[in-house]
């Protein structure tokens, strides 16, 4: 705030006037950056995230992936406030164990998604500052992607991007996977290799323009054989 010295009627200088002491409130949230992406195919699902953890203009870590393995057929990607990401994944792991012990079976992807929605809404008035995307195989073995907002609204998708570079990635995926805004193009179903290649290319582009995305890319490919992890280097600046 700038202050102005003014002259009063008598010609003497008036006192400074300013807006008064400014109270700085403590904020319980921080933004730690990161981008997550999930794609569902015919018999596979891919969850990918960058591995940069940042705050303000600094980098906390270049090797902090945002994909967390929940079961043999489900991976969740969490980006936003890292403190809430860690707590949320701990809570989900505990609830998975409880379900397994009471019902004697592993939770399915759809069930995990429904449960996460209730966990998030339980904190409707002090939300988890986390953008979640679940990727996995449904009961029929087909790929499934569920995307969430911070307070638990969710839907099943074919593909979804979340996190800091989501606005850059989502239109590209709409075009390449959803064939939007293209005429006369054959709607070829997405193969696993083409999907992995697309995910890698798309993150290379996101790292160019988003300062929070970079360092490395972790890709988790979920098939009925299991979960395969790949790491790819990205720009480090």
């Amino acid at each position: 705030m700038f202050s102005v010295q003014t002259f009063g009627d008598t010609g003497k200088m008036k006192d400074y006037h300013y807006t008064g002491p400014v109270e700085h409130r403590f904020s319980p949230y921080a933004f730690n950056g990161g981008t997550v992406l999930a794609v569902a195919g015919e018999d596979f699902a891919i969850v990918a995230s960058d591995t940069r953890l940042s705050e303000g203009y600094s980098i906390h870590s270049r090797d902090s992936p945002k994909c967390y393995k929940l079961t043999d057929t489900t991976v969740i990607g969490c980006s936003g406030f890292h403190g809430d990401c860690l707590t949320l994944t701990k809570i989900i792991d505990a609830r998975l164990k409880m379900y397994k012990h009471s019902n004697n079976k592993t939770m399915t992807s759809g069930a995990i998604a429904a449960m996460l929605s209730t966990i998030l809404y339980g904190r409707r008035f002090f939300p988890y500052y986390v953008y979640n995307i679940i990727g996995g195989l449904d009961e029929e073995g087909k790929g499934a992607v569920y995307s969430f907002d911070p307070v638990g609204s969710y839907q099943r998708d074919t593909y979804k991007a979340g996190g800091s570079a989501s606005a850059m990635l989502q239109p590209l995926l709409d075009n390449q996977i959803g064939f939007k805004n293209m005429e006369g193009v054959q709607h070829v179903p997405l193969t696993q290799d083409k999907a992995v290649q697309l995910v890698k290319d798309v993150f290379i582009s996101a790292a160019e323009r988003d300062v929070y995305t970079g360092d490395a890319l972790r890709v988790c490919i979920i098939t009925k054989e299991g979960i395969d992890e790949q790491t790819v280097a990205l720009r480090k600046d």
Partner: protein
Amino acid sequence: MFFSFLRNAVLEGEANKVGCSLPAARKTGTTICGVVFKDGVVLGADTRATEGMVVADKNCSKIHYISPNIYCCGAGTAADTEMTTQIISSNLELHSLSTGRLPRVATANRMLKQMLFRYQGYIGAALVLGGVDCNGPHLYSIYPHGSTDKLPYVTMEVASLSSDWFLCSSCSGSGSLAAMAVFEDRYKPNMEEEEAKRLVRDAIAAGIFNDLGSGSNIDLCVITKGKVDYIRPHDEANKKGVRYKSSFLEGRTGDYKYKRGTTGVLSKTVLDLEVVEETVQTMDTS
């Protein structure tokens, strides 16, 4: 004194009342620095310009020309650094023609600080000014409100150097702490040109990799008596990743080009222009 800031504050208030906001100026994020060495000065800068936390320009030039023997690195609002350096460069050229002499760095410093002070900090330009003139190599850092610091001329007397050595380098911008850390560790007075270039390159690299507001390449400008080496880029520290070629795919290897006709044309209207009159006027090209 100027008073446009009052008008701007009123305009911003009125814009906010109807729910809009005035366009935000693009900032350069930035790491810039300069070092005085044995025969002159080395200026260095990164090449990323940001708009919020999105990269607006991946390869912008932050080392600006002031005069044949003086260059200036700029951090802060991109338009402000560009226009300020151009205005002073123009005025300095006229001044130099009037005096009949090569311009001095102190003159450029005085002109810059007087202009920035007049605008009371509203011109967001933080500059590192360096050059070589008849009095030797000089390095100044200039802040948006108009204050300047002079990093001393390196003399041959060791006594004056030992207390002032840490002032012979200057950093500015959001990545300046990372760059200054490198300087504080490795700077020594009277370096050779190659050593000074290595030091500046490493300082900018520290900013590029550890600061999110800086990135891409490293530009250098080496100014010595009678010679200027504008090296752009000196180091392409970050290249765009190569799009993937999967061994399982034939043909499509990360190529996202559209075939002709993919973008749908909804309607087409052709307006024929009717030629009413045609005249030819010759231009004097002598």
